[in-house]
């Protein structure tokens, strides 16, 4: 969340609630709704570390609000973030451990594990299809996020097939 907020502030100053709304609009329903409290806490930490600076704006009928802008150090941090490549997602090691240990434990059957896991992935896939259908079609970022999740799941399902072929 830190760097996402910094990157949003690279476009210009904003206050906490605006940042929350912008994130929601950009990422759509597939992304867990950012918690506004968490956003304020993160902004506080970023301010302490000198990456952003806040300015109180007086409002007549409501409490003051605080608008944040990126400092030079903050701008450098965002640039460095864009500069580095990101780690690839890891395989689902918990299911893998179950599969690896099932046969000798005498407590579980590998094919039952695979079938159960497949059902779960298929249900998640269905959920993603539903999200994709309800998400604004023109929100390309949100649609790409969903499509990425679907392709990951497809890979997990393909891998389950391989497990089944090898272990049956």
């Amino acid at each position: 969340m830190r760097l996402a907020l910094l990157a949003l502030l690279a476009r210009g100053p904003a206050h906490g609630y605006e940042l929350k709304l912008e994130l929601e609009k950009l990422l759509g329903a597939a992304y867990p709704q950012p918690n506004v409290g968490q956003i304020y806490v993160t902004l506080g930490r970023l301010e302490k570390s000198g990456l952003i600076e806040g300015e109180e704006i007086a409002q007549s009928s409501r409490p003051n609000k605080k608008t944040y802008r990126l400092t030079d150090a903050g701008r450098e941090a965002v640039a460095a973030w864009f500069e580095e490549t990101s780690d690839e997602p890891r395989v689902r090691d918990e299911f893998f451990m179950k599969l690896a240990l099932a046969a000798d434990s005498g407590l579980a059957d590998r094919l039952t594990l695979i079938n159960k896991q497949r059902r779960q992935y298929l249900n998640s896939m269905r959920e993603l299809s539903r999200l994709s259908a309800t998400e604004d079609r023109d929100n390309r970022i949100a649609q790409l996020l969903i499509e990425g999740a679907m392709l990951h799941l497809q890979a997990d399902l393909d891998w389950l097939e391989r497990c089944q072929e090898e272990l049956e």
Partner: protein, 280 residues
């Protein structure tokens, strides 16, 4: 939900009770399954060792269901679909369509069945290349006995529904893959078949075309179309209500989707969002 047979209307006053609706079974929802297969076996004898593509399959599909059959390539799922549509004959086993046993039907009787009651779409569309889009769709309606006027109006409404207005006079080769598959879908649905069989309908389409096919199958299903879809693509399979996992010629699992399969699973924050967690 009651399913009126193809010859009765929903508000047919004589549908319930002991009227002459016997052929389609009781009209109270506990009707005969639309499709029932028992012990289907099919072995391909090509060069080399015989390949046992389908090795004893039981499958029941109720009217209104959307069933996806998934599995790795070579698992025999296309052969299964061909058996269900009478494009191949089983070596063993029995097949019923709407209560009538059809596995012994001749090629000619199957052709009639496929024209009127079973629509099929294929991976490579199989449109008639020297007929226009309109003629590809109207031809099966005319063959099934529709008047030219009925065929035209049915074609027009389907093509409009499928977003192909203005392409009536195009030849298949002038269309994109996604458009050709939509024409194939219109052709398969023009006679209002009881059953739609789809064999890897997005297998030669890009991601956008795949989404389009997903959306359309879902829409026709919501209107009551019974569908059996064969695909290796889980995205496509996930729009079905039920997924049959097919391995090595046999059913490995048969699961209803959307049912509460794992009550112990804690809800993830943001639901599916857990899959796209961007970290902190």
């Amino acid at each position: 939900m009651s399913d009126p047979g193809p010859t009765t209307t929903p508000d047919d006053p004589k549908a319930p009770g002991n009227g002459p609706a016997a052929r389609n079974g009781p009209a109270d929802g506990a009707a005969v399954p639309l499709l029932r297969a028992e012990g289907l076996v099919k072995t391909h004898h090509g060069e080399g060792a015989p390949a046992r593509a389908v090795r004893g399959v039981d499958l029941t599909v109720r009217a209104g269901e959307f069933v996806a059959v998934t599995g790795p390539s070579g698992a025999g799922k296309s052969t299964l679909l061909h058996l269900l549509g009478g494009l191949q004959r089983p070596d063993e086993g029995a097949l019923w369509l709407d209560g009538a046993r059809v596995d012994g039907y001749s090629e000619a009787r199957w052709a009639v069945l496929r024209r009127r009651r079973v629509g099929i779409v294929f991976q490579f569309f199989n449109l008639v290349s020297n007929l226009t889009v309109a003629d590809n769709v109207e031809l099966p309606a005319l063959l099934a006995g529709a008047t030219p006027r009925q065929a035209r109006s049915e074609r027009a409404s389907l093509l409009a529904e499928l977003g192909l207005e203005g392409r009536e006079r195009s030849m298949p080769a002038e269309l994109s893959g996604g458009e050709q598959q939509r024409v194939a879908l219109a052709r398969a649905l023009v006679n209002h078949p009881d059953l739609l069989l789809a064999d890897e309908p997005a297998g030669s389409l890009d991601s956008k075309g795949t989404r389009e096919v997903m959306r359309l199958l879902q829409r026709f299903h919501q209107r009551g179309q019974t569908i059996v879809l064969v695909t290796h693509d889980a995205r496509l399979a996930s729009v079905a209500d039920r997924v049959v996992s097919f391995f090595d010629g046999r059913v490995a699992d048969d699961a209803e989707l959307g049912a509460a399969t794992s009550p112990a699973r804690p809800g993830r924050p943001g639901g599916v969002g857990g899959l796209v967690d961007l970290g902190d």
